[in-house]
């Protein structure tokens, strides 16, 4: 009865055709930044395709593609300050790359070794991919709490999908962020599907952004295929967090152009028409057109970029494939600070097993 939603306007700076929707903000004079957006999105798209190929040819495990959602990670990676902490979900390849995680390490993660989470540099305090959906949001609230306790001017930026918004771990930390005024930004990649479940079956709320009201924090929708709009919204939210003015929920409207993961076949549950329509809005082409129009890009640069991306990705694949196998000790020695006696016994036994399996074993699998 008493609450109303004014119809939202999705924040947008560049429309799908590549044209500005109005007067552009000053920061968009920064050509280097615009080119960084474009280059990153391209690199990640090339990487993504290659990762799928690696999986298909049995050289890597299940992989979650970010096809069509590159703008989100890119905007996040560019907007974050070094001292912030990034708490990703599994479609944030672009952001992780921009945080300094080398591409080969992303492959290591999907390739089945914990060393794929051993980030260094800017990402050293960032969280690894979180498999149990939405739980990372609670961790981010904890990280933001630590910043607040210490009086640090840092923020925790966390991401999740639209499906994640149905879990307690979405609402509980959001509510905390509201009541404790935490320096936290939550970006929801609303790619319209949670595996086979469409957004409309995930919640009766017409927008995910309005869920912010349950926590008494600010929430809004952004065109998730418009890297510039995203960047602006994220910067606004991070600045707010740094200024001690509380948390923000951003609903980034995107589309999962890929299968859910390499283990999925999306044709079972959604139409070609829908996917084709979504391709018309995808982020890379849009920015390309925009850059072309502004004279910032041309065919030659494009060719150069493609070659460059492919080289980088091939190098990453090589690096991934040439990583030595992790020693048996590693399975035991990172569980506790000091490995307890029972694990030392099991470690020795497992070394023998590893030797046996390496030597060929007729009984084992």
């Amino acid at each position: 009865m008493q609450f109303t939603t004014t119809p939202y306007t999705e924040h947008q700076l560049i429309e799908p055709g590549g044209n500005a929707t109005g007067t552009l903000p000053g920061w968009m004079q920064d050509q280097d930044l615009l080119l960084k957006f474009y280059r990153t999105m391209n690199l990640i798209r090339v990487f993504d395709k290659r990762a799928i190929a690696l999986q298909r040819t049995g050289q890597m495990g299940t992989y979650a593609s970010c096809l069509g959602q590159e703008a989100i990670g890119t905007a996040i990676g560019c907007a974050l300050k070094t001292e912030d902490v990034f708490v990703p979900y599994y479609r944030d390849q672009a952001a992780q790359f921009l945080r300094g995680v080398p591409l080969y390490q992303l492959l290591q993660y999907w390739g089945g070794t914990e060393w794929g989470n051993h980030f260094t540099g800017t990402a050293r305090e960032d969280f690894p991919n979180c498999v149990p959906i939405a739980t990372q949001i609670t961790h981010a609230a904890g990280i933001a709490t630590a910043f607040k306790i210490r009086g640090q001017k840092r923020a925790a930026l966390v991401t999740c999908g639209d499906g994640a918004t149905s879990r307690g771990d979405f609402y509980e930390p959001l509510n905390l962020a509201g009541v404790w005024q935490l320096p936290m930004v939550l970006v929801v990649n609303n790619n319209q599907w949670a595996i086979s479940v469409p957004r409309a079956l995930q919640t009766g709320a017409p927008t995910i952004a309005q869920k912010a009201m349950a926590a008494g924090i600010e929430g809004f929708q952004v065109d998730g295929n418009d890297v510039c709009a995203l960047y602006e919204a994220i910067r606004y939210s991070l600045d707010k967090a740094h200024a001690g003015k509380g948390a923000t929920l951003i609903e980034a409207m995107s589309y999962r152009l890929c299968d859910h993961t390499t283990a999925d076949d999306a044709t079972r549950y959604r139409s070609h028409e829908e996917v084709n329509a979504a391709w018309l809005k995808e982020p890379v082409k849009r920015l390309q057109t925009f850059l072309h129009q502004r004279g910032l890009w041309d065919e030659q640069k494009e060719q150069q970029l493609i070659t460059d991306c492919q080289q980088k990705v091939e190098q990453a694949v090589k690096d991934f494939q040439s990583q030595p196998q992790q020693p048996v000790d590693d399975l035991f020695d990172y569980l506790f600070d000091t490995t307890p006696p029972h694990l030392i016994v099991q470690r020795e036994r497992t070394k023998q097993k590893a030797a046996r399996l390496a030597g060929g074993n007729h009984h084992g699998h």
């Binding site: 089945g112 914990e114 794929g116 149990p132 919640t203 549950y269």
Partner: protein, 346 residues
């Protein structure tokens, strides 16, 4: 409980004609049992993430939505506590919800509802309400999957009074035990070893006949040593038993199948006969179902044990990411070696 030769109570399928026979994998047997149960009893409903249009990420519920409609096959929002909790509510209303948790690693969020409510509703209300729900979930390692997709934490469920915990190890047992789980008027946790979802095929008569939930299955008779296992490990255990046979050691193989309450009588009788025992499980050993069986033997079988109870377990670490998961998984070699060592005691 016993075998219930239940006849369909309100199904549409003709009971006069011979039931169809299918040659199926374990996951297909699950699908068959679900369809049969839904046909026999309109109170049976299926719910979970991606169980409807998509037919489940392992295809265990494939075709059910088309056949029984979206009121009986419900794609839920992505929330495991919700799935478990609404199942409690539905079950209290006399429905028989069969809820799927996509992987066991995502079942922890259901624990409050399962432990504090599903397992207690009948007892708490002195029989006024009860909770005939089934929580199904694929479990176990060896499928080269990402983290959390390979858990074997059955002990956590098995520790809770008021739950039955059931693990099939073959298509036939998957069919019969799942029917039993659904028929059972109390909550059943039904753990499906994903590693053997498509490992072997068996011929199944789709006759709607349930298997008992209160007995172990002796899969191979033997006289020298008892090998006890459940789930996917049963396969390595049987393989080991055959190898041991060749070496002149006659191994009896028991599939525990229901992990709580356990059919101790069958296990004790076997160990009384053989005097030796090896327990094989994929789970970590500490406070596990394997510990329970060994403890029971230490308490009740001490005087017929000729050798210490041998144990082949997973390691006491989280399942390693898949490059190294084979180091974690118990294998045939280890079972044989442990059995031989157990035989060496005079």
């Amino acid at each position: 409980m016993g075998i219930k030769e239940t006849l369909p109570n309100n199904g549409n399928h003709s009971t006069g004609s011979e039931p169809a026979t299918h040659v199926v994998t374990l996951v297909e047997a699950v699908n068959l049992a679900l369809a049969r149960a839904m046909e026999q009893d309109e109170n049976v409903v299926v719910l979970g993430e991606d169980v409807g249009t998509n037919g489940g990420v392992f295809r265990a519920t494939a075709g059910l939505k088309e056949r029984f409609g979206c009121k009986r096959v419900m794609d839920t929002p992505l929330a495991e506590a919700l799935i478990a909790g609404i199942s409690v509510g539905m079950a209290a209303q006399g429905l028989k919800p069969v809820a799927e948790i996509q992987f066991m690693g995502f079942a922890y969020a259901t624990f409050e509802h399962i432990i504090s409510h599903a397992a207690r509703l009948r007892n708490r209300t002195r029989g006024r309400l009860h909770c005939p729900m089934v929580l199904r979930t694929p479990y176990g390692g060896g499928i080269h999957a990402p983290e959390h997709h390979c858990e074997s934490t059955e002990a956590l469920f098995a520790h809770i009074p008021g739950l039955r915990v059931v693990v099939p190890s073959s298509p036939t047992r998957a069919y019969g035990l799942l029917l039993a789980a659904i028929e059972d008027p109390d909550p059943v946790i039904f753990l499906e070893p994903s590693r053997i979802y498509r490992m072997v095929k068996q011929e199944i008569r789709d006759d709607g006949i349930a298997l008992p939930l209160d007995t172990c299955f002796t899969l191979k008779a033997g006289t020298d040593i008892t090998l006890i296992s459940w789930g996917a490990c049963v396969h390595e255990t049987l393989q080991a038993a055959r190898e041991l046979d060749k070496q002149g050691i006659s191994a009896e193989v028991i599939d525990v199948a229901t992990l709580n309450p356990i059919d101790y009588a069958t296990i004790l009788a076997s160990v009384e006969k053989t005097g030796r025992c090896v327990i094989i499980q994929e789970a970590v050993s500490h406070c596990s179902v394997g510990s329970e069986i060994a403890a029971m033997l230490a308490e009740k079988g001490l005087f017929f044990l000729k050798a210490p109870v041998g144990r082949v377990n997973g390691l006491d670490i989280p399942m390693p990411y898949f490059q190294r998961e084979n180091l974690y998984m118990p294998d045939v070699h280890e079972i044989i070696a442990t059995a031989i060592k157990t035989m060496e005691y005079a």
